[in-house]
Point group: C2
Chain length 209, copies 2
DNA sequence: CCCGCTTTCATACGTTCGTTTGAATCAAAC
DNA sequence: GTTTGATTCAAACGAACGTATGAAAGCGGG
């Protein structure tokens, strides 16, 4: 099981191609070619392309969610009302951690998150995910205590902003169309920049409406 | 030419379907069906599906860019160094203005911007756009004066954040997976929330790295 | 009426897609 | 050595796709 394990190789190839090309853009043939597996292996090991996607997404999301959860636990063990900056760090940090752990300096996971958010294919939303909802609700509650006066709707609006900024990092379109003079952003710098940016954004006073 | 104008009807249908389903997900057949036109009409009026997309994107982007440019001119006519909040308002405001003008309360344009940012299809990046680069560079310069001490790279990182937050608004995935209790956000409120959120984010002190 | 030009239409072509199938291969148990 | 179950393989299926084609239809000016 150690070296080749067709199933894992397909998962790896699919993660990469789904991230790069989206659900519709990554054909089963391209995935099995990259995985050096047979075309029918996807059907055999996963049932269908949609179920393969779900397996890929779960494998990527789970450690991120676990880390977000653990860091929130650690924060709450220290004080029941952590400051906004630390909440942002705990929530957004794991997104960048996992991103940086990937083979290509994290671009792959970041792009995959972008796909999860933005891919129009219906199949991108079928990976259940009650655990994700739980974590999200816990952070919503914690942010709510740290930012009294913010309506639940505006709070949720701001949390979507966190995900958007984290996901949009390293997305190709931007880098392709970025001002020519700028060098690509190193992963660690992007992490700090994002935390700074988002902590300030989350801490903004309530709009009022 | 007034009522039916096949070309315009195709543009409208394509704008809607590209926004909803992405480039690959919106088939030429679905577009011409929605437009009540013949399948071959796309080839006749636009040449190819990719050129149809370019025409759609240009039609959506141009007024936004013009508005961003005009508002920056107005700002600079008043003072050579406008404050960050007004720059954010001038840059992000038109995104929401145009979004709100659409038929479905703006969701369509917002989603299309999201596609422009996130769609993995290569064709999504072929709509030239030197005018867009000009506007972007002008805002980069203005933000640079308003935020001395920020490196050009971090400045560009933050401007991408503006686009990300504006685009992610009303994207279906989020609303589908949003906490059940929350009602959907009204367009005007989202605009204020985003400006507040982004003005605070842009005004954050330099990270330093 | 008829002409030239634009536009619409039905149809077909070749490709690529996801999925299925049934035989071949492999590895361990007996 | 044979059997059994799991895995891999080449091949094929029908469906959907983007595009091209040539005839039909509309239509204002001679």
């Amino acid at each position: 099981m150690a070296p080749p394990d067709t199933r894992t190789q397909i998962l790896d190839a699919a993660e990469r191609l789904f991230a790069e090309r989206g659900f519709r853009g990554a054909s089963v043939r391209a995935i099995t070619d990259l995985a050096r597996a047979n075309l029918a292996a996807v059907g055999y090991h996963f049932g269908s392309k949609a179920e393969l996607l779900a397996a890929v997404v779960r494998r990527v999301i789970e450690p991120i969610n676990a880390a977000q959860c653990a860091r929130l636990d650690r924060l709450l063990a220290r004080t029941p009302d952590p400051p906004v900056t630390e909440l942002v760090e705990a929530f957004a940090g794991p997104l960048f951690d996992e991103m940086l752990a990937g083979d290509e300096g994290g671009a792959r996971t970041s792009r995959l998150i972008m796909r999860i958010i933005g891919d129009p294919a219906e199949e991108m939303r079928d990976w259940t995910g009650s655990a994700e909802d739980t974590v999200r609700d816990r952070y919503l509650a914690a942010f709510g205590r740290a930012l009294p006066g913010l309506s639940p709707e505006e709070l949720w609006f701001r949390m979507r902003g966190i995900l958007a900024v984290a996901a949009v990092d390293r997305v190709e379109v931007y880098n392709r169309r970025s001002p020519a003079c700028l060098s690509p952003v190193a992963g660690e710098a992007a992490r700090h920049w994002a935390i700074t940016f988002l902590a300030a954004a989350m801490s903004a006073p309530p709009t009022g409406t």
